[in-house]
Symmetry: C2
Subunit: 171 residues, 2 copies
Amino acid sequence: MGPATETATVVLTAALDLLLAEGAAALTPQRLHAATGVSRSTVYRHWPSPHDVLASLIDVAPLGPADRNGELAHDLHAEVDLLCDRLRDRPVAALLQALTAAAAVELRHRYVGDLLAPFHDVLRAAGVTTAQREDAVAVIVSPLLVDALLLDRPTARTRAHRAVDDVTARI
Amino acid sequence: MGPATETATVVLTAALDLLLAEGAAALTPQRLHAATGVSRSTVYRHWPSPHDVLASLIDVAPLGPADRNGELAHDLHAEVDLLCDRLRDRPVAALLQALTAAAAVELRHRYVGDLLAPFHDVLRAAGVTTAQREDAVAVIVSPLLVDALLLDRPTARTRAHRAVDDVTARI
DNA sequence: TATTTAGCGCTACATTCCGTACCGGAAAAT
DNA sequence: ATTTTCCGGTACGGAATGTAGCGCTAAATA
């Protein structure tokens, strides 16, 4: 699903720069053309709508799971660390912010789902019930997302680790 | 700080409709003119940049505190209920989503701060230390915000109330 | 009552971007 | 050798932008 040709990668890296510097509104064919020298026609051919650019940006950096060893507490801590690293990396936070536009509902749900999936996996593998899983993921992950998206401050890593301890102690 | 004249209220109510229906990108002078009949020049006079429209929308519906009685648990529960009601009300959720564009950092911080302020007030009045306050607010409020703006699902009211119980028991 | 001021509508203008279509060349695959 | 794929260039009508200027009306002021 990655970029098939060379020009696609050129445009997408420029798109990421634009996204970081000026937000999703800057991801326009004209701007991408001006930033890369790639012809405007070509930009349209690859991404007929600005929506498609965001979709491609998501595909470029897929989200794999962390290193796990099967123990619930360890695996949750590992996932927390990985998520914090990703959110500290501006691209992931910027993508989340960009997807928080009313227009991009489907993409947003997909991306957020991918971010949360590892936590659900770990908890499910530990035999935690669905309801408890929802609560646990909400308590652990939500503050991290709010920090990154709304408050633009470094994610509260230690707080999230405390939340993991609380959750595992309760189960 | 509200609208000084009649036409301002007309435009702002139309702006809110547009925001709900199509997102912040629809808050353009042309659209506001087409939706209200108010002259395009007038729209520019009132709000030279789209940014200013969002700022006015925030001012129109200020956020007051809930009914409190001085008891920590009661007041927190009251604030949770009020916040859930506001997030269920589409305008507040839509405004939050709109402000989560990279361009509107200052406005976003102000608005989120206003949303969180009542919780901080209640906890501070109860003599909770700053560090504990941050944790408490994060645990209680973050899941509500994530539900409203990333997952587009009704806010998990009962979960938030459980979080309040946990927090108050711990203090 | 006369006069200033504030607010709004209308028109015009240059500029920019949009989305689409079409053509031609170069390079790679067949 | 020939087809296919990918890209750049140009052109086009349409729409929105941001700015400027003019005139009207109603309200505040003298």
